[in-house]
């Protein structure tokens, strides 16, 4: 390093993923406000003597200083802004939903260091809402997935036909066609969800929580299935965390209230 100083930059970020590397280090995947998705090594954070290992746990909103490297960057300093991870550890369904949010954010930023401010703000907002505990975790997750697809340019058509653009409340939904379809454009094999399910999807996409909160469990389950199918069709590869999301609790839970139903004992949506 003689005669050469690595360039440092400071940004705020959401911790998406941590992976063990070497004896005591971790590779931290961050979604930063101004630098997009960044992977950086946090040295020695697995040691009990680490001063900032606890701040680099998944789902935390952190203020981070990164030293740029040729292949991997290095985390030089980190301060916690709001460490949401510690609010999910007592609530298993919310932990699984947060994992799906983090994986989606990672998959929607395929190129490192390409800024994506809208996705950053959306991800931060979703984790904040999930940690707040005012809304049901699965609804927050589905709202995030729908809006994240909007940021990526794959928003499903919900208030007009995905094929011909005819406005209206259509009854069929085709993932390959791109959303709700009118009777004339309905391809073979299109799903026929309940009308309230499509209303719920539209409400989640637009942030109309009065409709979303009032939705029945059956509509929520159907909505989750359609959102997951639409997302995974466009990602061309399944999300590993999505089948593991515990959708057992449909009612909002008090923070740390332990409303979880172990996945062994419930039917997965």
């Amino acid at each position: 390093m003689s005669g050469y100083r690595r360039q440092l930059y400071r940004d705020d970020a959401v911790v998406l993923r941590v992976q063990k590397i070497g004896e005591s280090d971790r590779v931290i995947t961050l979604l930063t406000r101004r630098h997009g998705r960044v992977r950086a090594v946090a040295k020695g954070v697995r040691r009990t003597t680490s001063r900032f290992g606890a701040r680099l746990e998944p789902f935390g909103h952190v203020d981070v200083q990164v030293a740029q490297g040729r292949t991997l960057h290095t985390v030089a300093q980190v301060e916690g802004i709001d460490l949401y991870g510690k609010r999910f550890i007592d609530d298993y369904p919310r932990y699984t939903a947060a994992s799906a949010i983090a994986e989606t954010a990672e998959r929607l930023t395929p190129i490192e260091e390409e800024p994506s401010l809208r996705l950053f703000l959306l991800t931060l907002g979703a984790l904040r809402a999930l940690a707040g505990g005012e809304r049901a975790g699965p609804l927050v997750l589905d709202a995030y997935l729908l809006r994240a697809m909007g940021v990526a340019g794959w928003a499903p058509a919900l208030t007009e036909c995905a094929v011909c653009g005819t406005p209206g409340r259509h009854r069929s939904f085709s993932v390959p066609a791109g959303g709700a379809v009118c009777p004339d454009c309905r391809p073979p094999g299109a799903a026929r969800p309940a009308p309230v399910t499509l209303d719920l999807m539209a409400a989640l996409a637009s942030g109309d929580w009065s409709i979303a909160d009032a939705a029945e469990p059956a509509a929520r389950r159907e909505c989750s299935g359609l959102v997951a199918a639409h997302l995974q069709w466009h990602l061309e590869r399944g999300l590993r965390s999505l089948p593991l999301v515990d959708r057992g609790a449909t009612a909002p839970a008090a923070r740390g209230g332990g409303s979880a139903t172990p996945a062994h004992e419930q039917e997965r949506a």
């Binding site: 003597t49 746990e57 998944p58 991870g85 799906a100 590993r240 593991l244 979880a260 139903t261």
Partner: protein, 197 residues
């Protein structure tokens, strides 16, 4: 790029965790210049570990027999069971000399981002052990990480209805450290878990 056996060795060493191409090359050339008896000992140890080492049928710790040393020990208490993520955690706890119960090795922690759910861990086997009714206390000794804590929460939800006392390892300050150097999360946990003296 080398030819034949040396390149094969570099390729195989490079597949090991934490060993990059340069390190693999360095180790390969060290082995090439090392004493033949030393290299033979290493290759025998590698063969033996795959041949002899298996998982204990009770706790899933690594062992060379049907049951591990701890499960075979009649002096250990059957009514306290300590759940850990990996076999190396058993070794760390055994070094303390504080625990005289039995263990259960889960084989990891629930981590949806890596596709690891409850069905990928030895939770079903743990529930079967608890179902026999001999365990009175379950100590959750998973790592104090988000994944480890979430796994502990999940297990507590499963086990509490069975009437078994479920405890979690305390989090706090490392012995021998200065308070001023503790991070705010560890210090906060230490305050939460303070005890009367």
């Amino acid at each position: 790029m080398y030819e034949g056996a040396i390149q094969d060795l570099i390729d195989e060493l490079g597949r090991l965790p934490g060993v990059g191409p340069k390190s693999a090359q360095r180790i390969a050339f060290y082995l090439l210049s090392a004493d033949a008896a030393d290299v033979k000992r290493l290759s025998t140890a590698l063969d033996r570990v795959k041949e002899l080492v298996r998982f204990c049928t009770t706790c899933f710790n690594v062992t060379e027999s049907e049951q591990c040393r701890i499960c075979r020990d009649p002096r250990r208490s059957d009514d306290v069971l300590c759940v850990v993520e990996e076999s190396k955690d058993v070794v760390a706890i055994e070094k303390t000399g504080e625990f005289r119960g039995r263990y259960h090795v889960l084989g990891g922690a629930i981590n949806p981002l890596e596709g690891i759910g409850p069905d990928n861990l030895r939770i079903r086997e743990l529930m079967a052990r608890l179902g026999t009714g001999t365990v009175r206390e379950l100590i959750l000794a998973t790592d104090p990480t988000t994944e480890g804590e979430a796994t502990a929460t999940y297990l507590a939800l499963l086990v509490k209805p069975m009437g078994i006392t479920v405890t979690r390892l305390a989090s706090g300050l490392p012995v021998g450290g200065d308070l001023e150097y503790a991070d705010e999360i560890t210090l906060g946990r230490a305050f939460e878990g303070r005890r009367r003296v």
